[in-house]
């Protein structure tokens, strides 16, 4: 009996577990909603400060961001101290170096080109402790990267991170030849290098925050920052991560937690309802206007680590490339022509020493730039 029911039991259980299935849900959202101001950034009391201003988009919009341009942005301190920020790229307002007094409070004022005025709450300067260490650990699923920090004064309590990952990628082979005017010629060596080695980078896309206020000591132990799934391209050659750590206020922590819950932690059976967000920037023109974003003043601590392929044995990244062999005749060589998607790598000589055929592969296997790479070596590499 047991044996006979075993199979259906197993099937139904698989069903059950996979039942909580999801499928894409298309929705244009509510259309007649107003476009809200979004303010993001950290005021660095002793370094470059960038504040990003943008506006919310309709859900169905194709645009990724809608920068708020030509606004007047300034940081105000006690005794009418004013530190204006200037717009460099659209929506990014910067000031090269501030020197704010850690014992005083400051605030951010924004006046948009349409004449609406916004003011943040008064902000205290938070001092960020150093990142004690960044660790990584390999499991069957991949490599996890963790940060450790502490504040012996027990003052920090709320932490935020962001990071930028950089990794080297390589083509499967040098592209030694190229088709020019119907004939194959040798590719110059510097150009071969450019096609062979690239670097890619990505910024963190998740809100990374934690709190130690339930702990007896202000200790962050192995906070999971990033995860590289097994066989990912990121560790095909060498990988680096630059982590920035910020001390934030309790209010900022709660605000970002809510934003994270709204945007990253949906889809479970017991979802918390997404809610409206109210940050610490208020509209002076219309107090009921919602402004998205939470601004703080915090020193920034950074740390970078590298992980080499050699440190993760049997990583087995596979680009899935196939080599083709193309006869050295004019018609066949057209496969290496423009817009055919193939590049030649090496040549094969016949008994007589002449080139009988060329080896080649698809563009993304041979030209690392087509994989989204940048062939400028980063300064820290």
């Amino acid at each position: 009996m047991i044996r006979r029911i075993y199979i259906p039991v197993f099937l139904v259980l698989l069903f059950f577990l996979n039942q909580a299935c999801k499928k894409p849900f298309e929705h244009e959202g509510i259309k007649d909603a107003p476009s809200l101001l979004v303010v993001e950034g950290v005021i660095n009391p002793s370094g470059i400060t960038n504040i990003y201003l943008s506006r919310t988009l309709k859900l169905a919009d194709k645009l990724k961001a809608n920068p708020e341009i030509k606004a007047k942005v300034q940081i105000e301190g006690p005794a009418n101290a004013v530190f204006p920020l200037t717009e460099n790229t659209a929506g990014t307002y910067s000031v090269a170096s501030l020197n704010l007094n850690p014992n005083l409070q400051y605030r951010l004022r924004i006046k948009t080109v349409s004449g609406r005025e916004y003011l943040s709450d008064l902000l205290s300067v938070k001092n960020t402790p150093v990142i004690d260490s960044l660790n990584w650990q390999r499991t069957a699923a991949g490599v996890g990267i963790y940060s450790n920090a502490h504040d012996s004064q027990n003052n920090t309590r709320y932490y935020q991170w962001d990071y930028e990952e950089t990794w080297e990628i390589r083509s499967i082979a040098y592209s030694e030849f190229l088709l020019k005017d119907g004939a194959m010629i040798s590719r110059p060596v510097p150009e071969m290098e450019l096609l062979f080695t690239c670097w890619k980078n990505e910024r963190s896309t998740d809100i990374l925050i934690t709190s130690t206020d339930k702990l007896s000591a202000d200790v962050v132990y192995r906070f999971p920052l990033a995860f590289i799934p097994s066989r990912s391209e990121k560790l095909a050659v060498k990988y680096s991560i630059l982590v920035k750590q910020y001390a934030i206020s309790r209010e900022a922590y709660e605000y970002l937690g809510l934003m994270k819950r709204n945007s990253e932690q949906q889809g479970s059976i017991f979802d918390v309802q997404p809610t409206e967000l109210r940050g610490n920037i208020k509209s002076l023109t219309d107090p009921s206007e919602q402004v998205i974003g939470f601004i703080g003043i915090s020193t920034i601590k950074e740390k970078r680590i590298f992980i080499d392929r050699m440190q993760v044995a049997d990583w087995n990244f596979n680009l899935g490339c196939e080599m083709i062999v193309v006869k050295n005749d004019k018609d066949s060589l057209q496969v290496f022509g423009p817009n055919r998607g193939m590049l030649a790598t090496s040549s094969n000589l016949g008994m007589t020493g002449t080139v009988v055929s060329y080896n080649g592969s698809t563009q993304n296997c041979v030209d690392c730039r087509t994989r989204g790479g940048n062939n400028v070596k980063p300064a820290f590499w």
Partner: protein, 930 residues
């Protein structure tokens, strides 16, 4: 004098009444001629010419036209000719009373000669009507055979007792002849004058009847309708053993009594027997009380997962769920996929959604009263069932034959070990999904006047679905019940018990942050209920109840030696909730009945407690706190109290048509705090305190009830309007767990709910089931000026479970005694969802922005289920009986949206629709009875 009758004597059927044929009458010969005569003309002519008196329902005979001529013929012969080849039947008794009926044959006299001597001294008033109503067509062939003997008339009381004016009380138990278990909710009544009652949960009934002969009718779930002739001389007892239907031909009866729909004074009461619950197909095939509740009009839930249900716009915590008189705080296993009640030990389930009897209180929306069975007190027997994910077993039998019996049940899931068999990369390798529940009930009859019941219940869940957090939760209940019969008119019940709900979750993945969080609520109950049968017109209920709560709102403790977690323990809460009630079921006239009840409830919040105080008139926020006041142990911190009205009335136009109206007010002193759409087992309960007011609700409802086809089809239409006050909602971004000032994160919310519910039920027959349609709305609003940020700017917004249109069909067709098929279909409007108003770029990703709660709706919900039940052979004397249930849940495989959500992944927003059961789910269950 108690008549304890043997089983062979109980069976009683009118078919064995001796038909007094016309041969026994002295013939009167007459001549007559009729041409297209109506029944009235025909009868009045005969009444003129003879001393025969006719009794009939003119309406039934309006189609009859009599054309005949007779010379020197007998009355019976003339009628016989007149009724030749029609559906009309007649009967004549010794006193020349003629009873005309349609379809049904009646028997005009009780068995001849049995109590000849009494015949002169007692008037046989009303007897003919009783017999005319005899419903022989309803008697199954089998019942006819097995009811052969019991046409004996029972004499009750002392024949020579002095005649007193007024009524005489008669009381006793109705029990199952085979197992000795009490039959609850059985209607015990006489028709003329109409006096009746229902047996209580112990099978006890008490009636006050006029002296003289009566026919006592007993009708109940799953038993053969019984009529028992009695002669009542003086106060006495009559225990009635009844035969349950071995082949359970009518097991699908839904209402306790066929005309209860029309006759009950109470509104909005749904009683489901476990057998009707068992035939509704549910996912995984095991009978599930909670899921069947959801097929009733006015009962909704947010989706397939999640605990609890919503009744008429009430929140999940506004349902009082009682199992053997004790509160069950979490009626579900495994995050709501399974009901926590073992179907094999449950006797029946009663849901009160409109008129809540005054003996219940403490919750605003409904009472779900689940009763377990008494064990078989004749012989040891049991049942076992194997489903794909769960198995269960129960055992019952006598401890002292006919006096003490036990029933125990256990149920568990074996999905845990199957999860371990899953391959490593399935992602569920380390998952756990374990639960079990156990029941034990011991019933002991001390003597005729005293009975004792002990009931214990334990349920436990331990789950971890792939994550690093393990959730465990459990219910533990123990109750002791003593029933005492003071007299035939007064019975009393004393119940004491404890119930506890606890949960904890723990995570040890990060040794520094490893924690264990726990919550529990304990209550000690004491209550007394009394029933006093004052007169045939008045039945008085009264009683007292008291609950002592002790609630540990949260402890957060380090787990393991490396954990740096600081122990955080929220202060214990304690309170006493007491109530006294008085109710009168009052028959003003035959047609108009009232049920008037008043309940006075009081809630005392007790120390030791430190209570936060806030500036009056300002938002209750940490910034407006003015400190806290400390109260000593046992000191009274705050008292809330007030009366609750429970009024309902019924006006019965005809036997098959009535209107009812009800008005209820209720108070609730305990709240479930949740900020998720579906109620999770780790949501916390909170007692009212100086900063959190009790919830208050009232409901007005009006209904029309009509039975068709001899009470085999019931129609009801009920409308309601309900108001809620001080229902607790949460502020945007509220954290409700381990919160030392929870009052700052909740909002007092007003609600209104209204709707119309249509229900057509066919409780009996080969094809049976019900169709319900509900239109309802539930709207909430926060407009407290002392609250900072209002939800949806203080406007009304739909509650999470607001699904205006809801159509449900539950059907069962019995092909043969061994084979039946069940079908379900459910359609409802999709539940409200909160969708983004836009998107923005922040922290490296596009993110959705939100504004109003529940502004749009998920796609509509539609599901059909199908199952077949196959019984093994029906030989009574064999070691085991087995049955199979095979079916498919969600037959069409429609992936109904449980929720929709938008999530930022790798920098972009993706919208998803989550379905719990996105495919058709086949199931099979094997049950064995021994």
């Amino acid at each position: 004098m108690t008549m304890n009758l043997k089983r062979s004597l109980i069976l009683f059927c009118l078919i064995f009444f001796v038909f007094i044929s016309n041969a026994q009458n002295k013939q009167v010969l007459i001549s007559a001629e009729y041409k297209n005569a109506t029944i009235r003309e025909f009868v009045s002519d005969l009444e003129q010419k003879t001393d025969y008196r006719f009794y009939y329902d003119a309406l039934q005979f309006d189609s009859l036209r009599v054309t005949l001529s007779a010379k020197d013929d007998s009355v019976s012969s003339i009628i016989k000719k007149a009724f030749l080849n029609t559906k009309f039947r007649f009967a004549i008794d010794l006193k020349h009373n003629v009873f005309l009926t349609k379809d049904l044959e009646i028997f005009a006299s009780l068995p001849y000669g049995i109590f000849d001597s009494e015949r002169d001294s007692l008037k046989w008033k009303g007897q003919q009507e009783i017999l005319a109503l005899a419903d022989l067509s309803a008697a199954e062939v089998q019942s006819v055979q097995s009811s052969a003997l019991s046409n004996k008339i029972v004499q009750i009381g002392n024949k020579n007792a002095p005649q007193k004016s007024g009524n005489i009380s008669l009381a006793g138990y109705v029990r199952d002849a085979k197992t000795g278990t009490p039959v609850t909710g059985a209607a015990v009544f006489i028709e003329q004058p109409r006096i009746g009652t229902y047996t209580d949960q112990f099978g006890y009934y008490s009636l006050a009847l006029p002296r003289g002969p009566h026919v006592l009718n007993i009708k109940a779930l799953g038993i053969i309708d019984l009529k028992r002739p009695i002669i009542l001389y003086s106060e006495g007892k009559l225990d009635i053993d009844i035969q349950s239907q071995v082949l359970s031909l009518k097991e699908v009866i839904i209402s306790a009594e066929s005309s209860a729909n029309v006759r009950n004074v109470q509104m909005g009461v749904q009683k489901l027997s476990i057998s009707s619950i068992k035939q509704v197909p549910v996912a995984f095939g095991e009978a599930d009380i909670m899921k069947v509740m959801l097929t009733l009009p006015g009962v909704k839930s947010v989706g397939e997962a999640g605990n609890g249900f919503n009744v008429r716009g009430g929140a999940v915590d506004q349902n009082l769920i009682q199992f053997d008189d004790l509160t069950i705080y979490n009626p579900s296993h495994f995050f709501g996929f399974f009901s926590a009640f073992n179907p094999d030990v449950v006797k029946d389930v009663e849901l009160y959604k409109s008129s809540i009897p005054s003996r219940f209180g403490g919750r605003l929306a409904s009472v779900l009263d689940v009763n377990s069975r008494d064990g078989n007190n004749k012989k040891l027997s049991g049942k076992a069932g194997i489903g794909l994910l769960t198995g269960r077993i129960n055992l019952e039998g006598p401890i002292i034959k006919d006096r003490t019996s036990f029933i125990m049940g256990a149920r568990t899931t074996y999905s845990n070990w199957i999860l371990k068999l899953l391959p490593d990369d399935s992602g569920y390798k380390n998952s756990k999904a374990a639960f079990y529940d156990m029941n034990l009930r011991i019933s002991h009859k001390i003597n005729d006047k005293n009975s004792l019941y002990i009931s214990g219940y334990l349920s436990d869940d331990n789950s971890n679905l792939g994550g690093d957090t393990t959730f465990t939760y459990s219910n533990k209940n123990l109750s002791l019940k003593w029933k005492h019969i003071f007299s035939n008119k007064l019975t009393g019940l004393v119940v004491g018990g404890f119930s506890r709900y606890q949960y904890d979750n723990q995570s040890d993945q990060n040794p520094v942050n490893a924690y264990k969080m726990a919550f529990d609520i304990n209550q000690a109950n004491f209550k007394t209920d009394f029933n006093y049968y004052l007169s045939p017109k008045h039945t008085i209920d009264f009683g007292l109840s008291s609950i002592r709560y002790q609630l540990h709102p949260g402890t957060y403790l380090p787990l393991g030696s490396r954990s740096l977690v600081v122990s955080n323990v929220l202060q214990t809460e304690q309170a006493i909730e007491s109530a006294a009630y008085l109710g009168d079921r009052f028959d003003l006239t035959d047609k108009l009945s009232l049920d008037l009840g008043v309940r006075y409830s009081m809630f005392n919040y007790l120390g030791p407690k430190s209570v936060n105080q806030y500036l009056p008139g300002l938002p209750v926020e940490p910034g407006n706190s003015t400190g806290s006041t400390n109260y000593q142990k046992g000191e009274l911190v705050k008292t809330y109290h007030g009366p609750e009205m429970r009024f309902s009335g019924r006006y019965q136009f005809t036997d098959a048509l009535s209107v009812k109206a009800a008005y209820n007010t209720l108070r609730q002193y305990i709240h479930l705090l949740t900020n998720s759409t579906a109620i999770s087992p780790t949501d916390i309960w909170k007692l009212s305190d100086p900063n959190i007011k009790p919830q208050y609700g009232d409901q007005f409802s009006l209904g029309l009830y009509r039975n068709f086809k001899n009470n085999t089809v019931e129609l009801s239409v009920e409308g309601y309007y309900k108001r809620l006050k001080d229902y607790l909602d949460y502020k945007s971004g509220a954290s409700l767990i381990m919160n030392h000032h929870i009052e700052t994160d909740v909002l007092n919310t007003k609600g209104k709910a209204y709707g119309v519910e249509f229900l057509i039920k066919k409780p009996v027959g080969k094809l049976n089931g019900w169709i319900g349609y509900t239109y309802s709305r539930t709207l909430l609003k926060t407009d407290d000026p002392t609250v900072g940020q209002l939800i949806n700017r203080g406007n009304y917004y739909p509650a999470n479970f607001d699904k205006p249109n809801d159509l449900t069909l539950v059907g069962n067709y019995r092909f043969s005694h061994r084979f039946s098929a069940s079908f379900n279909a459910t359609y409802s409007t999709g539940r409200p969802i909160t969708v983004p108003v836009g998107k923005y770029y922040y922290a490296g990703s596009l993110r959705a922005s939100y504004s109003d709660r529940n502004a749009l709706r998920a796609p509509d919900y539609f599901r059909t289920d199908f199952s077949v039940n196959i019984e093994g052979n029906h030989k009574i004397h064999q070691l085991t009986h087995s049955s199979w249930t095979i079916g498919v849940y969600n037959l069409t495989g429609r992936d109904n949206a449980y929720s929709t959500y938008f999530i930022s992944q790798k920098g972009v927003i993706r919208g998803y629709q989550l379905s719990i059961f996105g495919n058709a789910i086949p199931f099979v269950n094997y049950n064995i009875r021994f």
